[in-house]
Symmetry: C2
Subunit: 345 residues, 2 copies
């Protein structure tokens, strides 16, 4: 389970995250390049020092935020020119620059820079993005780096399974330490995403970590695990938590509801998170209603812990061969209008 | 050291507070009566359950916020009628009601309801407030309560030492478990406050806890301790912390300053707080500049821990008879324009 620092780890300390069972911290290279700057992080001893997180750190390439958050100035084969959403300054992201940034940040796992088209995209745009993603992946692979840093390649190809598989086949010889499906969970709809994951997931190298970027909801994770995916990241648990939605094995619990005012039970019976060990539903509801920061922290802790507990059950089910049974026992979590849960903030 | 929950404990969990060395949690009865309501707290098992704090809790009477925050409708001998600053609803605070509220909240220490005049006040208003404070203290003392709950009386009398001493002499027969100086640290100026503390502090019963409400800055605490005061509470450490000011034995450190951008030292060398053990000045500065909630938490933890470390030194100096040496070794903390540090928000 990967949890992002700038977005998903909001209101959490590294200790909160670790105790809740998060295994990898995802940090967004674009955000860090804006504030406090990659060089500042490096001079402060790298991301582990700055974040206080002593376990593995994965950085993204910076590409996703450049495509989704910054003003895109020019996308070309050399790289992507953009204007910062913070101060309007111009920047240029190339595979070499992304590799160097992630090396300076001190990530344990660095992600290749990819060309991430907005969906829906024309088939010409999708083909172009695959070609460019492969070319950039090669340059990223060849860029000087930290020898102990793992590097993951990213499979693009929009909603076209053949383009996805073409991308994967061309990345395979680059011998990445892990492979990711990118450009999904960006609002394309669950059905379209599932179709891609079902086609492409099983084709990813089985002897490497297989990572579906930006996914999130338990039902989507279960489907993806059945297709061979190992690794996930999502802002969903903490974002919905800050808005008052607790995740439990009985479904979502909207803690702002009046019915919880006098409820002295923990958010979820049987949960062993810091919040459930120390606070009642009524107390957490009070902190949320009174807009106390503690409410955001307590909700985030519970939801990250829920995801860890969920992943423990998933791993058990994989070992026992009982994924369908687990799937049948789960309540619905994702509403039809939900799905844009990529780290973007 | 007393730390308020609604104001001073912002961005802190009970564990953060406990680890930082806070000994008593102060909760504001007025705020709790507004949200979530005294009855709600009681039905949720009391303040210890709601706050997650298993150590002593002190509640104020609610009077201070009624006088300073709510719309005052009518102040009379029966009590004080007010309109809520949250929803405009009318309420009536009497000594009996305050005792009952604090009993329902489940405080370990309950404060008597006092008549707290805004300063400067005419001598007639000060005399009236002393008479009313004494009459209310008697009714508060006689109100039914929890037998294991300690009750503290509050000495009023504005900036007139004779009125202060008159109030104290009339409270003494009520045999409170502790005595507080109230109505100070409300913007009256350090010199005027010191004069009162020097006159009245030594007259407070030496065999009971002596509490100066709302005080805060290390130099003021030192002066008060020299006059016999044992107990303090203040929002200052966490409020200035959230604004980027770290307290250290070398003085205040404004962490937003550019000079700390690349500074990999902890906020204070030799400090053993969670923040200083895990984060550099540069990292904390980044969280503050990027408006991450974690920055508020880390600064608050350090400053509460600083106050605990300061109070440890004060206790050592009291035992060794070296308070003046400690005072001479301290840097200045309070700026001349600071001082309105009562819990009010």
């Amino acid at each position: 389970m990967v949890v992002g620092t700038q977005a998903a780890a909001k209101a959490l300390s590294p200790r909160d995250l670790s105790e809740a069972g998060a295994q990898v911290l995802l940090c967004n290279a674009y955000h860090l390049a804006q504030r406090p700057g990659v060089e500042t992080v490096a001079r402060l001893g790298g991301l582990h020092k700055v974040s206080g997180w002593n376990e593995p750190i994965l950085t993204d390439s910076g590409g996703f935020q450049v495509f989704s958050l910054a003003d895109l100035v020019k996308l070309g084969d050399e790289g992507v020119a953009f204007r910062s959403h913070i101060d309007g300054s111009e920047g240029m992201l190339t595979p070499e620059r992304s590799a160097e940034d992630q090396r300076l940040l001190g990530a344990d796992i660095a992600m290749a820079l990819d060309d991430c088209p907005a969906l829906p995209a024309t088939s010409a745009r999708v083909r172009e993005s695959v070609d460019r993603t492969v070319a950039w992946a090669r340059r990223f692979r060849e860029a000087p780096g930290d020898p102990v840093q793992a590097r993951f390649g990213i499979v693009q190809g929009g909603l076209d399974p053949r383009e996805r598989l073409r991308c994967l086949e061309r990345l395979r010889p680059l011998d990445f330490d892990g492979y990711a499906l990118g450009g999904l969970a960006v609002g394309e709809g669950a059905l379209a995403r599932r179709a891609i994951v079902r086609e492409v997931g099983p084709a990813l190298p089985e002897d490497r970590p297989r990572y579906l970027m930006g996914l999130g909801w338990p039902e989507d994770i279960l489907e993806a695990v059945a297709c061979g995916i190992d690794l996930f990241d999502c802002v969903m648990p903490t974002r919905v938590g800050r808005n008052g939605t607790a995740l439990t094995f009985e479904g979502k619990r909207l803690l702002r509801k009046a019915e919880f005012q006098y409820d002295s039970a923990p958010i979820e019976n049987g949960c062993n998170c810091f919040t459930c060990r120390n606070f009642s539903r009524g107390a957490v509801r009070h902190f949320l209603m009174a807009r106390e920061i503690l409410g955001l922290t307590l909700m985030s802790i519970h939801n990250v812990r829920f995801m860890s507990r969920f992943m423990e059950r998933v791993r058990e089910a994989v070992r026992a061969g009982t994924l369908p049974t687990l799937a049948a026992s789960l309540p619905a979590f994702r509403s039809p209008n939900e799905g844009k849960e990529r780290i973007d903030g």
